[in-house]
């Protein structure tokens, strides 16, 4: 049985390298055979204090395919939270109704707090701009699936590297392997120095660029993120740089055959739709992998794997 039984997953650093790999291995089994109703007598509570279609449906699909029953809410407006109930009291109550809590809440640190209040395990499905660890695990799964390994890869991260929590988590996780990071972003949205420090601390290298074309021939993975207008204090600067982080099909000439493009979705215009028809686009499969990874986590934490 997994060492992950009964554990919480709040932050990507809660698990170590071996535990990431354990989840990925279990997820591979679910990809081969997704319908394994091994948790028929279990209840999973999905508490979504803010809307998130993809993450919630992915968790609910994962739980349903394991045979779990799912209860919860996707809009706190219709619950006692609206009446002013504290997170503490909501979590205490739900602990007695379910075997596992999956929670998204815009308040940062809310999932860590919920895990301290709950008598059942908690999986963080996003706490504001802080952590979204299951996204990171599905990114790792997608990288290993497309490259056959997590070692010795050139990972290019493109777009908003300053505020993008998925980027920060992915860098932290990939520091467990011999990774070279290629960072492409406008000056205003560069990777924070604390995250760069963790790359250096791991003895790894990173290179910084302004244009996507500089990394096309190098990258094994291009991880795209959205550059949001509201992140800029100077809108002229936004107008000047906004196109520097857009990927089009014509730009892919000269890329490696094994190169794949990932994106946490939703995308707006940073990957043009002509890229979807190339063999390099992997973002929709990436989202699908989220179900297998979440199945693996639920099964491991509830002791069924």
């Amino acid at each position: 049985m997994s060492t992950l039984k009964g554990r919480n997953l709040i932050s990507i650093t809660d698990f170590n390298k071996e535990e990431y790999l354990e989840v990925l291995d279990i997820a591979e089994g679910f990809e081969k055979n997704p319908k394994q109703p091994i948790l028929r007598d279990h209840v999973v509570a999905t508490l979504f204090f803010e809307p998130s279609t993809r993450t919630r449906l992915s968790f609910e699909s994962a739980a349903n395919q394991l045979g779990c029953r799912v209860l919860g809410f996707s809009d706190p407006g219709a619950t006692s939270v609206q009446k002013g109930e504290s997170l503490h009291d909501t979590i205490k109550m739900v602990s007695s109704y379910a075997d596992l809590i999956v929670m998204r809440n815009p308040k940062e640190g809310s999932s860590r707090y919920a895990s301290e209040v709950a008598s059942i395990p908690v999986i963080n499905a996003g706490d504001g701009a802080n952590q979204h660890p299951t996204q990171c695990l599905l990114d790792l799964y997608s990288i290993r699936k497309t490259q056959g390994t997590l070692d010795n890869l050139n990972i290019a991260l493109v777009g908003d590297l300053k505020y993008g929590r998925t980027v920060h988590s992915l860098v932290q996780a990939m520091c467990n392997w011999n990774t070279t990071f290629h960072l492409v972003s406008p000056e205003e949205l560069k990777l924070p120095s604390s995250v760069k420090a963790s790359i250096k601390k791991a003895g790894l290298k990173y290179y910084q660029y302004r244009e996507i074309r500089d990394i096309i021939g190098i990258a094994d993975i291009i991880y795209m993120t959205r550059v949001q207008r509201e992140r800029f204090t100077d809108l002229l600067e936004y107008e000047r740089v906004k196109d520097s982080c857009i990927l089009t099909a014509s730009m892919l000439q000269g890329c490696k055959d094994n190169m794949r493009i990932l994106h946490p979705l939703p995308r707006v215009n940073e990957i043009t739709t002509d890229v979807d028809r190339t063999p390099y686009a992997y973002y929709f499969q990436q989202a699908q992998n989220g179900v297998y990874v979440r199945q693996a986590l639920i099964a491991a934490i509830l002791g069924a794997k």
């Binding site: 997170l87 308040k107 940062e108 640190g109 809310s110 707090y113």
Partner: protein
């Protein structure tokens, strides 16, 4: 210490002397130690001559003793403070405050979106950089620094 010729702040028979406080931090130290409501004599000196600091502050608290843990909070705002325990006008113990590794329910998280600023939760921090005073919130994982530090009143 003050000159032996004349004590600017009178000696106490029993209690604690907190010395070498940066003069601008004296009232913050009073607040941190909750001395506003202390029901015995508290003698406060500020802007006193000091060989070590140029100018310094000093607080003498009659009939009160602190554990190292209690005064470690002071080190967050005044890192080189000396704490002296006095009995019968004699120095019994003398130690420098040390910044602790962790701190609970004493500092507000500087992140306005942190759950601790919405619910009644004791705050928890790891002090990740003692030299530059950088605290990492146990909950939201964001940093509170010397510039953004606020004490829970």
């Amino acid at each position: 210490m003050e000159t032996k010729k004349e004590l600017v702040v009178p000696a106490i028979e029993n209690g604690t002397v907190i010395d070498h406080i940066p003069t601008e931090s004296v009232y913050q130290v009073v607040h941190i130690l909750g001395l506003e409501n202390y029901k015995d004599e508290v003698l406060i000196g500020t802007y006193l001559q000091s060989g070590k600091l140029g100018r310094k502050g000093i607080i003498k608290i009659k009939n009160k003793h602190f554990s190292k843990e209690e005064v470690s909070k002071v080190a967050l705002i005044a890192p080189f403070v000396t704490v002296i325990t006095i009995k019968d006008y004699q120095v019994i113990e003398k130690f420098a405050t040390e910044i602790p590794d962790h701190i609970e329910n004493f500092i507000k998280c500087a992140n306005p979106k942190c759950i601790t600023n919405f619910e009644d939760i004791p705050t928890r921090f790891d002090i990740v950089d003692k030299e530059n005073l950088k605290l990492r919130c146990h909950y939201c994982e964001k940093y509170t620094t010397k510039e953004t530090i606020k004490f829970i009143s």
